[in-house]
Symmetry: C2
Subunit: 300 residues, 2 copies
Amino acid sequence: MSLIVTGSIGIDSIETPNQTVNDVLGGSSIYFAAAASFFGHVRLVGAVGDDFPPHFLETFKHFNVDLEGLEQRVGSKTFKWRGKYHQNMNIRDTLSVELNVLAEALPPVPKAYQDSQYVFLANTHPAGQLALLENFPNAKLTIADTMDLWIETEKETLLKLLTKIDGLVLNDSESQQLTGESNIVLAAEKILAMGPKFVVIKKGEHGCFIQHAEGNAALPAYPARDVIDPTGAGDSFAGGMMGYLASQDDFSFESLKKAMAYGTAIASYNIEAFSLDKIKTISKDCIEKRLNQFAQMLTF
Amino acid sequence: MSLIVTGSIGIDSIETPNQTVNDVLGGSSIYFAAAASFFGHVRLVGAVGDDFPPHFLETFKHFNVDLEGLEQRVGSKTFKWRGKYHQNMNIRDTLSVELNVLAEALPPVPKAYQDSQYVFLANTHPAGQLALLENFPNAKLTIADTMDLWIETEKETLLKLLTKIDGLVLNDSESQQLTGESNIVLAAEKILAMGPKFVVIKKGEHGCFIQHAEGNAALPAYPARDVIDPTGAGDSFAGGMMGYLASQDDFSFESLKKAMAYGTAIASYNIEAFSLDKIKTISKDCIEKRLNQFAQMLTF
């Protein structure tokens, strides 16, 4: 499969009620790429600074992520984020952010990547997402993520992006912010009227929801007893979803639903350890096993 | 089936962003009984005042609810509640409450009801729930609901009740309040350690969760596009669940899961109109149809 992702690559420091880790590998495109890689080869476009720890590259290699599109920019610094989770692990504060190389120009898309058929635009400035999308006029499937900041400050550009992509992925609070509608079905219908063929709304511990021309569906999250670090759950969900879709080349409603279930299974592993520590230890068989448990849970 | 329910019977006034209704039939045991009645005969124990509108009795008759345990108390007034929903229909304020007859002694359990095998103690003072439970020492299945007020003010009595019932039904915020645990799996495990064989945690628009010795499971809510009035959703969920269980006489984990799905289907109808207006118009076939749609939604 020719799946490409762009988004942040970061050095994260994460505080939870039980444990703190400093300077671990993070970023939206990293969690996405690792999750998607269970279904095939993933191409990554992004930039880091000359402070990027060389041993992080081992993780990319572990997941067989293609690094031709990774630029290590001399004189720049890597994106850094520090966050703190509360006793309720669903609530977090950002303690500090250093955009660094994320505030600079995107690296170019390598020539070898221009035949990418499946394009995931992880969360970044919608103008950057639009510019990137222009590299792939013949893509079969394009999905974008976004965030509250862009809905607030770059709504016009975001609305333009929505007319050019197949699918949008966002949080429930963001769907409400974008549409002014608190009912998730009505919010999703309004988003479809803005352009995309489907929208997937992430609800964290409460699961996910899809609205599509053929119908809608909600799935719960996989019940998580041991939540060590929720960071990247939404990105690994999207990665699992998009990885499955790319591997099947089937974007029907039923296929999208199964893709959400795969995303749910992988995200449920992701939160069992910091950074990619858990995902690094599992095989595709583990994911299949959890998917089956999830399907069994939903059978009555 | 010999299913008995006790709880509030009320005269509700409900304000929503789009519409207001005054003096409609409400109360926890009413929503419960109507939902459970799709599976068989329901016995109701409760009191109303001499102000209780006679035409409300037609609704009881419509649902074939046995009224031998309904006491119309001369000189007393019926429980009254006035609530207001916000633009986000998941948030409501209680504008006024008149406990009236609810603050008086419970009516006696009719002799003919003492062979009841399935007992649902809808939300009320846990001392009252305990007293009522004593009427049914040989019941096959006893489930209680509770609320934040009793967790805060009557915790010891509530903990005693928990050692005597098979199942507890409560909201997610209440499960957190009762256990001090925000993770739903850990909270549910702590509740099982308090006595019940299972706990069902209601999450409103986010569905429900069950913890049982045999495992746990989460179900989403049925996606609701047209939410007119969420009042009674939790009670009709519990009624559908308990009605199914009583009709099957099977309290295994798998049966409980199917019972939650029936509860979900009926609750999704309940919120489509004020009071029991929607539930009054549907047949068991409608419920089976929605249950099948729900099962189909959860198949991938």
